[in-house]
Structure formats: C-alpha cells, structure tokens
C-alpha cells in the first residue's frame, strides 16, 4: 500500500552541472516499489513552491529500504531540493502510478532513455536483470557532462551505450540515429522508452515499423498523483473523446497507445 513518509536522506550528490542523485530511507515505501512508478516529493515546508514534485524511482534497495532519485534542476522546486542535506528528512508519498511490465526470463529488452529520462530505466534494468533478461541500455544526452553514474550500471551488469548530440562521448548523434543504424530489430523483444516526447515519438515509430511491442513513460503536470484531481489528462490514440490520467493509469503506457507530441 502506498503511504506518506519522512524519508531520511542518506546520500545526496551532484553528478554534473544540473544533475543530482538523492538517496533516502523509507522502508514502507521502498518495499512497495516497482520499476516505472514514481514518488511525489514536497520540497521545502513553505507555500511556495506549493505542490509536490513527481520523481521516478531511479533505484530501489528493498533490503535497506532505500530509494534513489536522479533529478535535473529545471526550476524552483528542483533548485530548492539541491539544498537538502544528508540526515535531513524529505516528505514523500508513494509509490505512485502503474509501472513497467516485467518481461519473462531470457527476453531481450532494449531500454532507451533521453536525458534525465534514463532515471526510471535504471531501476527497471536492475529488476529485468534480476529476472535474467538480456538488457541493453541506450542513453542519449546533449553532452558528456550530463551523465548518470556509470558504476551503478556496471554494478547492475547491463550493456550501456551512450550517444551524445555533440559527440563528446560515445556515439555522436541522437540516440534514435544509433537505434536505426546499429540495432538489429530482430534481436529485440520489447522496447522501454523514457525521454523527451519527440524522441519517444521516433522510437514509437521505429517500434511500429519493426513490429516490436513496448512501453513509454510520460510526464504531465500533476497535482494529486492519485487520480483524484483529473489534472494530468492525456488522450489515447484509440479513444478520441476520453482522457487517461498519467498519474494513475500511467505514467507507463503501451508504446502505441498514446499520442506523443512531436
């Protein structure tokens, strides 16, 4: 059962210019977590900023009861979050939403992340790996600086390919270019994707053309995170007149189910 908790911060570090990794202990919440879900975090105790911020499960350690977040500073809330110190508490509710489908043993999974969209894919990689799947992670970023922690991916033991827009590291170009040029669609059973929508739209097209099933994780402005406010609406491709709630019906949707903004 999801719950509300004060998570004890046990780790917080800057990974690059605007990327941070924050780890806290909240066993009741950690214990319920599935890859693709997220938590809602209150930054600061004041009325500005007011609403909670949704952040994906970047990694979860159920034994320790810890949850790790990977976040990018984009505005007021994430800026304030950077000031959180180890030993302080964060006010967290979750886990929220519907997570990724976990493939059967031996399946071949391709995880494609753009920018901070890599966050939910890392925990997913861990769980898929634990389930004996073959996991390949493609990650596109603008430049070498905005990296996640390689050690974590190494520890999980998955193949990790980085594509940088400026070629400062790994493959030079978009991750979608790499996908089209270097990946053999025949070797892929399922695609998981999270990142900027134009990127996800490209990946969805690739999946459709190559007849590969998969899932994407969406972002939408949220208030409640539990399906109560109807604020996070998204149109499905199939149902013209009705909306789904990203917070509860998602954030993970089938790759062909949702309309993606190009």
């Amino acid at each position: 059962m999801p719950s509300l908790a004060n998570g004890l911060v046990v780790g917080h570090r800057k990974l690059s210019k605007d990327m941070y990794e924050l780890e806290f202990i909240a066993p009741e919440i950690a214990n319920e977590c599935k890859p693709g879900q997220y938590i809602n975090l209150k930054v600061g105790n004041e009325l500005d900023p007011l609403l909670r911020r949704p952040l994906s499960l970047y990694d979860v350690d159920k034994r320790l009861g810890s949850i790790t977040l990977l976040y990018k500073v984009v505005g007021k809330g994430t800026q304030i979050l950077t000031r959180t110190k180890v030993k302080e508490y964060v006010d967290v509710m979750g886990p929220l939403g519907r997570g990724f489908k976990i493939l059967e043993e031996k399946s071949n999974a391709l995880l494609i992340g753009g920018g901070v969209g890599i966050a939910p894919l890392v925990y997913l990689a861990r769980v898929l790996k634990d389930n004996n799947c073959n996991v390949q992670v493609l990650h596109g970023t603008d430049t070498k600086n905005n990296l996640v922690d390689f050690n974590k991916l190494e520890e999980i033991g998955v193949e990790y390919i980085l594509a940088t827009d400026d070629g400062s590291f790994g493959f030079k170009g978009f991750v979608t270019d790499f996908l089209k040029e270097k990946i053999n669609p025949k070797e892929i059973d399922y695609i998981y994707c999270c990142g900027p929508e134009p990127m996800m739209a490209e990946v969805a097209k690739y999946a459709l053309v190559n007849n590969i099933d998969g899932e994407v994780s969406l972002e939408e402005h949220m208030a409640c995170g539990v399906g109560a406010c109807l604020g996070c609406a998204r149109k499905l491709k199939s149902k013209d007149e009705l909306y789904v709630k990203v917070c509860k019906d998602g954030p993970v949707f089938n790759i062909n189910e949702v309309e993606l903004n190009k």
Partner: protein, 311 residues
Amino acid sequence: MKKNEDKSPEMIVNLGGLRLNNPVTVASGTFGYGREYEDYVDISKIGGIIVKGTTLEARPGNPPQRIFETPAGMLNAIGLENPGIDVFLNEFLPELVERNVTVIANIAGNIVEEYAEVTRRIEKHKGIAAIELNISCPNVKQGGLQFGTDPKAVKDVVKAVKSETSIPVIPKLSPNVTDIVEIAKAAEAGGADALSMINTLMGMAVDINTRKPVLGNIFGGLSGPAIKPVALRMIYQVYKEVDLPILGGGGIMNVNDALEFIMVGSSAISIGTGNFVNPQIAEDIITGLRDYLEANSITSIEDIVGVAVQR
C-alpha cells in the same frame, strides 16, 4: 493539561439540516470519489466528502494542459470531466455508502433543467446527504455568462433544485462577482439551506517560451493559499448580512487556517488544494480543531463560529 473525558468538545455540526460528524469536509474535484485517497487517510472519519462535480451526461473535460502551479496557489481547467450522474450513482456511490461516508454530491449543468434532472436522479437514489450546487458553469441560455454571477439565475437554479429534493441544497458561490452579498441573498431567496464559498477565482498563466497561455482552456480556476484572504473577506461579508450557515474554504492548509474560516462565520470548512500537498490534511485538521477546543476549554465548535465578525 488534564483532560476530562466526559467533556470532550462537541464537533458535530448542523449545516442547514446536513449533519456532519465534524466540521471538516473535502472539496469537490480535489478528492475524486474518496477511494483515490483511501491509502492515506481513513475517509470515513472525514466530516463529509464532496465528490467530483457531476453532470447529467458524461463529459470528457478540457484538453491538456489542465493544471499549473502559481505562487502559493494553482490553476485548474479540468472542464468538469466526469462519467455522468448515473455512473456515479450506480458505480461509485455504493462503496462510499457502505463505508458510512457522508457523501455530498456536487452538481453542474448548462441549463436549469439539467440541474433539475440530475437532482431528480439523486433524489430517487438513497445515500447522498446533501447537494452542493456548482453554479460556476456557463449558463448557455444566458449567453454563456456563469449562473453564479447573475442573482436572478442563482435564485432560479436554486429554486428548481430545491423543488426536486428533500435533502439540503447548498449553492457554491463564485467569487468572481462584484457583490457577493447580493448573490448570497439571491441563493437564500431561492431556498438554499446553506452556502458553500468560495469556488475558484478565474485566472491564467503564460508560458513565455511558447508565448502562449499555459492552459489548454486559456483560463482556469485559481485555488490554494493565495486566495485565502479573498475567501475570508467574502465569508465575513456574507455571514454579517445573510442568515444561512456557511461551508467555508479557499486555501486552507492547516488548523490555523481552518480556525480563521470558522471565526469569520463558517460552520464547517472544506479543504481542496491542501489535499494534494498533504493527503492526510483532513485528519490532521480534525485533530487540530479538537485540540484547540480542548486547550481553550471551548465546549462546542459552534461557539467560535463568527466570533471575529463585528456586527
């Protein structure tokens, strides 16, 4: 402090015939149908749950983006997304009734007859304790101006609904008016049993990067702490001039806020945006009010309703 168990303060309130176990309700549109928050709070302990606004037919709601945070507040333009009154009554209501929740319906429509028909269906069903009338919808017969901004329309719609039902009818006043007292009096003239106030202030935001309004609907309703001073003022004005009990809300985030609303004349309070920030806020405020009454040796919550109003 010694606590006399026999004299624990009275929290029950009577809101124009609607009996609430305590003065704390959750506002329409912010608590879904109750079950969405079940993991976080014992919903049967809340004084009353005002469910999401319901119309006769299902409505899809507005195109995204529907919400946006503003300084100490938020804008929403949900557009009354709801499955229609019959689905609500048949599919969502039963489990609430079973759990002994005091359910207040919130109804909306574009013409008076729509309100009346929704009311008839509610009346036929059992299980709803009161009707909150959302009159902030465009009145299509009046060229789209909101019902809630025209005293005559307010009176007419309240009267139409009253004549169809035996449960208390509580019009929810829009704050987007010049003279809130005039509107409140019109609701009274229509036969309202109590008044709910305030609904959201109309506002908007601009995305300076796209150079377009943020919300798909352009305009949205402003709620949260930002509007608290306006809500308190309007309730004060109405409490002073109109003889109906008030269900007050607008930006309540803690027990002190709740006390402010009670002191300007609210017999009960409603929590909206606060649920999003603290999903356990209703329970917290119920406890807080009880503690306040005990600490100040006040025997009943009713004793402090309107104490700040100078008559």
